[in-house]
């Protein structure tokens, strides 16, 4: 339904035109369509096929308007406003035209509204009621499309894991096909046949299972595409809508839950269009991720370990045991012996309470939120954190004419930014460059895709800098300085060292140098790399060489829903003098103990120097890049408290397990990667006995004898003060030396393993969402066709991946999106612990890959 109230004007035009609509005179930018202009003036024009984020097509003819001096009615969605145009949207001719179009649209539309899931929120229902005839003049049999051999009286066919298609209901607005093509770049849905027999269907032999497929259902104006998730569950008018935020993406996609209050149950998630963030598109993880909240596997009660077995307990018992042991360890062995890890997906209040709990109640500086990264820096004044703290605006991607993506598989990590990059290419003709160790999804819109050797990110970036300098595109940088800082004499050497052609490097350098507005995105492959500081240094140099901060934006994007919040609320162990001083002035005390980050804490625990740990919503055994190391460390702890939604490998090791409430069960505030503060309403009340993290920590602190806050107001006031501390660091003014540590090689292991999220999963919890498991239910090894041919494996075969630390056996997926000797394995599945192949000390995880013959 046309719900836009903004006039979206093409960015580059400033020319305006003046026209008259329903007797009102208005001035709009040239290139605006009549429909957009009318919506901007508060005049509603009904339509089916128009969508604010897609190109107009004029398929449904519902948006007819009368324009003076034009002999016939015109479709307003595809007619541009011109000077002196006189438009009528409510004349008798227009009303008659709408009536006729509704009648024609209903020609073959079955009147099965009672069984249709769209009933109550259907554009065709609403517009027929508003503009149609009361009665039908069609007495003949409607055309009915039935799949041969389907034993159904309703002509539904399942075209994807979550999508049911009813072709009879389709009114051929082509919104789904257009969105799939224009916004998502997917071609698994299409229109077939001609004329009266035209039908939308999945491409032959394909399933509609792209990572954005849920949007197709959401934008369908009728019940032709419906969701199996929502199918025959509840009527839309019985639900309340609750505004929330997606906890799986860092951009904070705006979502709303459809909730039945009496049942305390969420029935579905849809988008809440926010043009600054998500454009109204949701990735499937965001859409179906709410299901984890209602999973029957949720932890029901607190558990206490008694005689080596975890037994259910009440909250009072569990908190008493936890508090007693924590205070005992704190008082007897010293504060250094207590450590804590929190999930960066928690809300601000929880993170802040955690910080205060650790630093005030436990008097320990062992606080961290970065659990999945290797070799964390000790302090925050390093090139990586400089690059990561830069300002970034998602909406600016649209207007950039040059976009460079470095070390990020966008569709798996940042789905919203991925769609933005596609949009920029589609609507703004931006040049997209990808610089990754593996071929990634937006390659089809990329001007150039550079696939470098694994573990050579900083060399590739340095090569770009050198190439720019050699060609004279970089100004104000000393050539010798750059050569010595990067460690390469010539761009050709650097290009050769990372396995790229000089001409490719030069093309990127030239585009960045000539670009008027540049966006450079760096992602998780940088953040997770052991050499993130070297890559950060290379990015700083890139900024210096091209002056990116003057004509665009460059940042290493945060990955988690509230990573930015965690950083701003001081969840890193060593905060620096300024931040620590601010905290001391608020709290009146600040621990003097040596700060230990995740690595140091686990290492200390392994040496039995750390005695107790509190884990809130994290599962180090599954996500820390060295499984055995993390498991051993946690196993050796005297006392471990784990708060989580589900039983995980980590909670199995814990002495006290506390059921945590999910983000949909309490009100919370989150910072997205831009630093935009957004709040999420609770969808439902906490299920079972789960409690929000801040509540758990507050009661724990109370039991430990040092209550944290007098009330919520105090907490909020303290948080407000802390958030005033600016943690943004300016770009360095000079060049920084890029000095990666030497890479180790293992001759028998030749394939580089890249670990990440499946496009339909995020983190270790989404495995509990049945819909997401329907898309992808088990881990796989994604191989390039060449590597698959070399190993003589195909789809259906399994491969064994071996590293020094472990081995796993996973089925094979051959993908043209990988074209190196690289294997991609998702880390989302408990059954395939891919982080057991990884070592925190290595930069590239070389694995040996072999076919499993059974």
């Amino acid at each position: 339904m046309a719900d836009s109230t903004k006039i979206e004007t093409p960015a580059r035009t400033v020319e305006t035109v003046t026209f008259t609509i329903n007797g009102r005179t208005a001035t709009v930018a040239k290139g605006t369509t009549v429909l957009q202009a009318a919506h901007g003036l508060g005049i509603t024009i009904p339509s089916f096929c128009w969508h604010p984020k897609l190109k107009p097509v004029g398929a449904c003819r519902m948006c007819y308007v009368e324009i003076e001096k034009m002999p016939k009615l015109q479709v307003s969605c595809a007619t541009e406003v011109t000077n002196g145009m006189v438009v009528f949207t409510e004349s008798d001719k227009v009303k008659q035209g709408r009536r006729a179009i509704i009648e024609f649209t209903l020609l073959n539309h079955p009147l099965d509204c009672p069984t249709c899931d769209k009933g109550g929120e259907c554009d065709l229902q609403n517009l027929t009621f508003a503009h149609g005839y009361d009665d039908s003049r069609f007495a003949f049999q409607k055309l009915r499309k039935i799949e041969a051999g389907v034993p159904s009286t309703f002509d539904d066919i399942k075209i994807g894991p979550e999508i049911v298609l009813n072709r009879n209901r389709c009114i051929l607005c082509y919104k789904c096909v257009r969105a799939n093509k224009e916004a998502f770049g997917e071609y698994d849905l299409g229109a077939f046949e001609r004329g009266n027999h035209t039908e939308i269907n999945a491409a032959p032999g394909q399933q509609v299972d792209n990572p954005f497929s849920g949007n197709l259902v959401e934008i369908c104006p009728v019940g032709a595409l419906t969701n199996t998730d929502w199918r025959y569950k509840i009527r839309v008018w019985l639900t309340d809508q609750k505004a929330s935020i997606c906890p799986f993406t860092s951009s904070g996609t705006n979502i709303q839950f459809y909730v039945e209050r009496h049942k305390n149950r969420i029935f579905r998630t849809t988008g809440r269009r926010n043009d600054a963030i998500d454009d109204g598109w949701l990735s499937d993880v965001t859409r179906y991720g709410y299901q984890i909240i209602q999973s029957p596997d949720r932890l029901k009660t607190p558990l206490i370990k008694k005689n080596g077995k975890q037994v259910p307990a009440t909250w009072d018992e569990a908190l008493a045991v936890a508090a007693a042991r924590l205070t005992e360890i704190r008082d007897k062995k010293g504060c250094v012996c207590v450590g804590g890890l929190a999930s960066p997906s928690l809300d601000n209040a929880s993170l802040y309470t955690f910080n205060k709990f650790m630093r005030v109640a436990m008097e320990s500086n062992n606080v961290d939120y970065r659990t999945e990264y290797r070799r964390l820096p000790s302090s925050l004044d390093n090139p990586y954190d400089i690059a990561a703290s830069q300002a970034f605006t998602i909406a600016d991607i649209d207007e950039s004419d040059v976009i460079v993506v470095i070390g990020s598989d966008l569709v798996r990590e940042h789905p919203n930014e991925y769609l933005r990059v596609r949009k920029a290419e589609q609507f703004n003709r931006s040049k997209v460059f990808l610089l990754n160790p593996l071929s990634t999804k937006p390659s089809d819109v990329a001007a150039l895709e550079l696939v470098h050797k694994p573990g050579a990110e900083e060399i590739a970036i340095s090569a770009i800098c050198l190439a720019a300098m050699e060609s004279g595109w970089a100004s104000g940088v000393n050539a010798d300085d750059l050569k010595s800082k990067t460690g390469f004499k010539k761009a050709a050497d650097a290009a050769g060292a990372c396995g790229l052609d000089l001409i490719e490097i030069q093309a990127v350098a030239r585009a960045i140098a000539e670009g008027k507005k540049i966006t450079i995105i760096a992602g998780e492959l940088v953040t997770r790399s052991r050499e993130r500081e070297a890559i950060g240094a290379a990015l700083c140099n890139l900024n210096r060489v091209f002056g990116v901060d003057g004509k665009g934006q460059m940042a290493i994007l945060a990955r988690h829903a509230n990573s930015v919040g965690a950083a701003r609320l001081g969840l890193t162990p060593d905060l620096g003098a300024g931040f620590a001083g601010a905290l001391k002035s608020i709290w009146g005390q600040y621990p003097e103990t040596p700060p230990q980050n995740t690595d140091a804490m686990l290492a200390a625990a392994r040496k039995e120097e750390l005695d107790a740990m509190i884990l809130v919503g994290v599962n180090p055994v599954m996500i820390y890049p060295d499984r055995e190391f993390a498991r051993e460390a946690l196993d050796k702890l005297d006392f471990l408290i784990a708060c989580d939604l589900f039983e995980t490998e980590t909670t199995q090791l814990a002495d006290v397990v506390l059921p945590l409430a999910g983000w949909a069960e309490y009100r919370g505030e989150y910072f997205n990667l831009e630093g935009r503060l957004q709040s999420a309403e609770p969808g439902i009340a906490p299920l079972n006995e789960a409690r929000p993290a801040h509540q758990i920590l507050e009661s724990l602190a109370e039991q430990c004898g040092s209550p944290l806050f007098a009330g919520m107001d105090q907490r909020n006031a303290e948080m407000e003060k802390i958030l005033k501390v600016d943690i943004r660091r300016p770009w360095p003014t000079g060049l920084i030396e890029v000095k990666p540590q030497p890479q180790e090689t293992a001759p028998e292991r030749t394939v580089a393993l890249i670990m990440g999220d499946d496009p339909h999963h995020s983190g270790y919890l989404t495995e509990k969402a049945p819909s997401l498991v329907g898309f992808c239910g088990e881990a796989y090894a994604e191989l390039s066709p060449e590597l698959a041919a070399k190993l003589k494996v195909g789809a259906g075969d399994s491969v064994r991946l071996e590293a020094a630390t472990g081995k796993i056996i996973v089925p094979v997926r051959v993908s043209e999106h990988i074209d190196n000797d690289v294997v991609f394995v998702p880390r989302n599945f408990m059954a395939a612990p891919v982080n057991s192949l990884v070592s925190r000390k290595q930069r590239v995880d070389w694995v040996k890959i072999s076919k499993v013959s059974d």
Partner: protein, 167 residues
Amino acid sequence: MTEILKAFVNVIIKMPQGFGVTLKYLFRKPVTVQYPKQKIPMTPRYRGRHYLERYDDGTERCVCCGLCAAACPADAIYMEPEETANGERKAKVYEINLLRCIFCGFCEEACPEEAVFLGQDYEFSADNRNSFIWTKDQMLVKHPRKENPLKRIIRRVRRVYGVPTAK
């Protein structure tokens, strides 16, 4: 004086007139019905407790669209849909709270599938509140059946609400 006269006239004329009415009814057919041995037929527009109609082949007409519940002014209807094995929609739960129901008949008017009807049955008293929540199984008409007891009601509903009679 006049009051005494008035009282005298009442006793002589008005009282025998009144007794005359009583005497007249003594010789008429009595109105009282010996309920429950004897029952009077309800008027065609009487709205008693609900029935759920079936198709001739025995499948339930109700598809659980929720319109009756939406139309219900007393919020007496609760339903939950489910998907059958062949992908059809039908009611998993269909309950009417007859204590809340005001027997207005909006549900049968709203029903697009001609599934729910208010019958002529008024005998559903019970000794506890839970027994007034009638479930789908209680309200569904029996199948197979010799003759359709709802035939007359369906005709009436169609006539009242102007539904064209099916061919």
